[in-house]
Symmetry: C2
Subunit: 150 residues, 2 copies
DNA sequence: ATGTTTATGCAATTTTATTGCACTCTAGGA
DNA sequence: TCCTAGAGTGCAATAAAATTGCATAAACAT
């Protein structure tokens, strides 16, 4: 994992659709050498996958929200159960068990308030293991990055 | 934007590295027709970009944290300024201005606690516009998805 | 119905990825 | 210092994939 690998990863995180020849050019390698490095990065798992990143606004999911959740019963099995339930929800983009005042944090990508309402009814209803929850609707996005800095 | 487009987007969000021929096969189109659809989805901006998704654990960024921030001075220009400062930080993956008890939420991808400490000193020091902040370290990840459901 | 726009499949063509091979560079050991 | 093993490299040939033109078919509005 040298300087060239890092350069390749940075370029590919931004745009993985360029041709291998162009990529090779940018890092100053031959096409074959470049290809072998990228293949190695994929096989070693540093590159998890190549994916299309959609524009959420153009797909009708314009609302974003951060929800903190306090559970009624704490501890491993209960937290895991809640996290699994949340993960199954389409609108839940991220679900974390965390330290601090609350037990879990969810990041939601919503179509509209109706979807939010339905989700709350499913995840936070009386008979669920949720004591309280706080919703923070996203007003403005300063950054939303899939890139891991190297 | 019909059923086939949605199918294409779902497939490409999972794996954009497959060949166009394979993709065409999966949705039951000819290669040329499939290619033209994907190109259209890219040009219309529904597909923002094709990117390599890295495994954060394999790149040394193993710590994740959610930080809620209460600003001293509220309102548009102050919030924007803080968000811009946060966005410039490498370790900040997401930065949002939100409704609710706090003003902003940050998602951090950290190398170690030292990096966390340094970041806090830069973003939350006395002379910054931050009244208080609460850090929630991520214990377990139930979901962390780049996909937008269709 | 009918003209018009839009999408489709096929086949030819162009572009790109992939491989074998000989060479180079580097680190470690005698 | 010299030698050698291993990994990495570039070139050129080959295989695979993307892209295009064109004729046809489907969808749409009048």
């Amino acid at each position: 994992m040298d300087r060239i690998d890092r350069k390749l990863l940075n370029l590919l995180q931004r745009d993985a659709s360029r041709t291998n020849a162009a990529l090779a050019d940018e890092v100053g390698l031959s096409a074959s050498s470049c290809l072998r490095r990228v293949r190695r990065l994929r096989q070693s798992g540093v590159i998890d996958r190549i994916a299309a990143i959609l524009n959420p606004a153009k797909t009708g999911r314009t609302l974003k929200a951060v929800v903190t959740v306090e559970l009624r019963l704490h501890g491993e099995p209960n937290t895991r159960q809640f996290l699994d339930l949340a993960a199954r929800e389409e609108a839940v983009a991220q679900a974390y068990a965390v330290t601090g005042e609350v037990d879990a944090v969810l990041i939601l990508r919503l179509r509209d308030m109706e979807e939010y309402d339905a989700l709350c009814n499913r995840l936070f209803q009386e008979r669920m293991n949720v004591a309280r929850y706080w919703t923070m609707m996203v007003i403005r996005t300063g950054k939303d990055d899939t890139m891991v800095p190297l």
